[in-house]
């Protein structure tokens, strides 16, 4: 299922969640022609933001993706504080919440490497091409090298950042 990005961005924005779009969706927002079926976001671990994030995602009834169906799960501040990265299935598609990004660090560093983009009439922070390159290099998998080639090509073809 392809996520309903509009609904998720709207919920996060309405709840004033501090987050940065990372991963494949960030690549697409910069111009990549790839297809992805989940949304990766890096979120601030400040307590107030954890509450806003839990509130924003609650209507989407998130559950742990790949976990046994009977494993109890409630996305709330306590859960978010006890974990760091969560791979979730929700009524609006798969959403991955990351507390930090390999190669960059925690939210503050990720935010410093982000740019503002207008998406669905909302200002959304998106990891910059420099940030994506750093994360891809740190991950170092074969598919990340393919992404690096695409990032270089996007840079050549024109700046999508503003």
């Amino acid at each position: 299922m392809t996520p309903d990005y509009w609904s998720i961005f709207e919920a996060l924005d309405e709840s004033e969640v501090d987050f940065v779009v990372i991963g494949a969706v960030a690549m697409v927002l910069h111009g990549s022609a790839r297809v992805t079926r989940d949304l990766d976001i890096c979120y601030s671990r400040e307590r107030a933001n954890l509450g806003r994030l839990a509130t924003a995602l609650k209507p989407f009834t998130p559950t742990l993706r790949g976990a046994p169906a009977d494993l109890p799960f409630t996305l709330d501040v306590a859960t978010l504080r006890a974990g760091l990265n969560f791979t979730l299935r929700s009524s609006s598609g798969d959403v991955d919440l990351l507390g930090e990004v390999t190669g960059i660090g925690a939210f503050a560093a990720v935010r410093r490497l982000s740019v503002a983009m207008r998406v669905y009439d909302r200002d959304v922070r998106v990891l910059s091409l420099d940030g994506l390159e750093r994360a891809k290099r740190a991950a170092g998998r074969l598919k990340d090298l393919a992404d690096l080639a695409e990032i270089q090509e996007i840079r050549r073809l024109g700046k999508s950042e503003r």
Binding site: G83, N85, A108, E150
Partner: protein, 168 residues
């Protein structure tokens, strides 16, 4: 002095126990570095932020650990983990030495640099240069001409088409 490693390993042990119960899964990431003792988190942040001469500012460490109370971080740097803290302070971990107001140096015994990615970067560039990336420049150019919203909607349509083809 207590070993900084021991408590971290106990956190991993908790994760192992969780996996052993059959609840662990590659998509569930339960281990959280924020569960490490505060002195370990402070030391790791200081190592990551330290200058070439291993000095750092306590304000930077407090800023790098937003989930902790800044006062607690300062107390750890200036008192609990400071070898030359005033005698009436309860100094337990020999991590830092106070140099000036707000500036500390990491003690040689606990210095640990985050590995440099320079060598790795060079080898990645060699691989990139030698591979046919398969990047479709026409498709990329068309995508870049769109707005971010149009890009994401185009991607959703493509995903739906692929799902439809698979269903058939």
């Amino acid at each position: 002095m207590r070993s900084p490693r021991r408590r971290s390993e106990s956190a991993f042990t908790r994760q192992d126990a969780f996996d052993a119960q059959g609840c662990g899964h590659q998509n569930i990431h339960v281990y959280n570095r924020e569960m490490d003792p505060i002195h370990i988190q402070v030391l790791e942040a200081a190592c990551a932020l330290a200058n070439a001469d291993w000095t750092f500012r306590v304000a930077d460490v407090a800023g790098a650990l937003p989930h902790l109370n800044p006062g607690t971080v300062r107390t750890h740097v200036a008192s609990r983990c400071c070898v030359n803290a005033p005698p009436h302070h309860a100094s337990r971990y020999r991590y830092f030495r106070a140099l000036h107001r707000g500036v500390y140096r990491i003690e040689p015994a606990v210095r640990r640099r985050v590995p440099s990615d320079r060598g790795c970067r060079a080898s990645q560039d060699v691989i990139l240069a030698s591979l046919d990336s398969g990047v479709d420049r026409t498709l990329l150019a068309e995508s870049i001409a769109l707005t971010p919203t149009e890009r994401i909607e185009t991607m959703r349509q493509a995903a739906r088409s692929l799902d439809g083809m698979r269903a058939r």
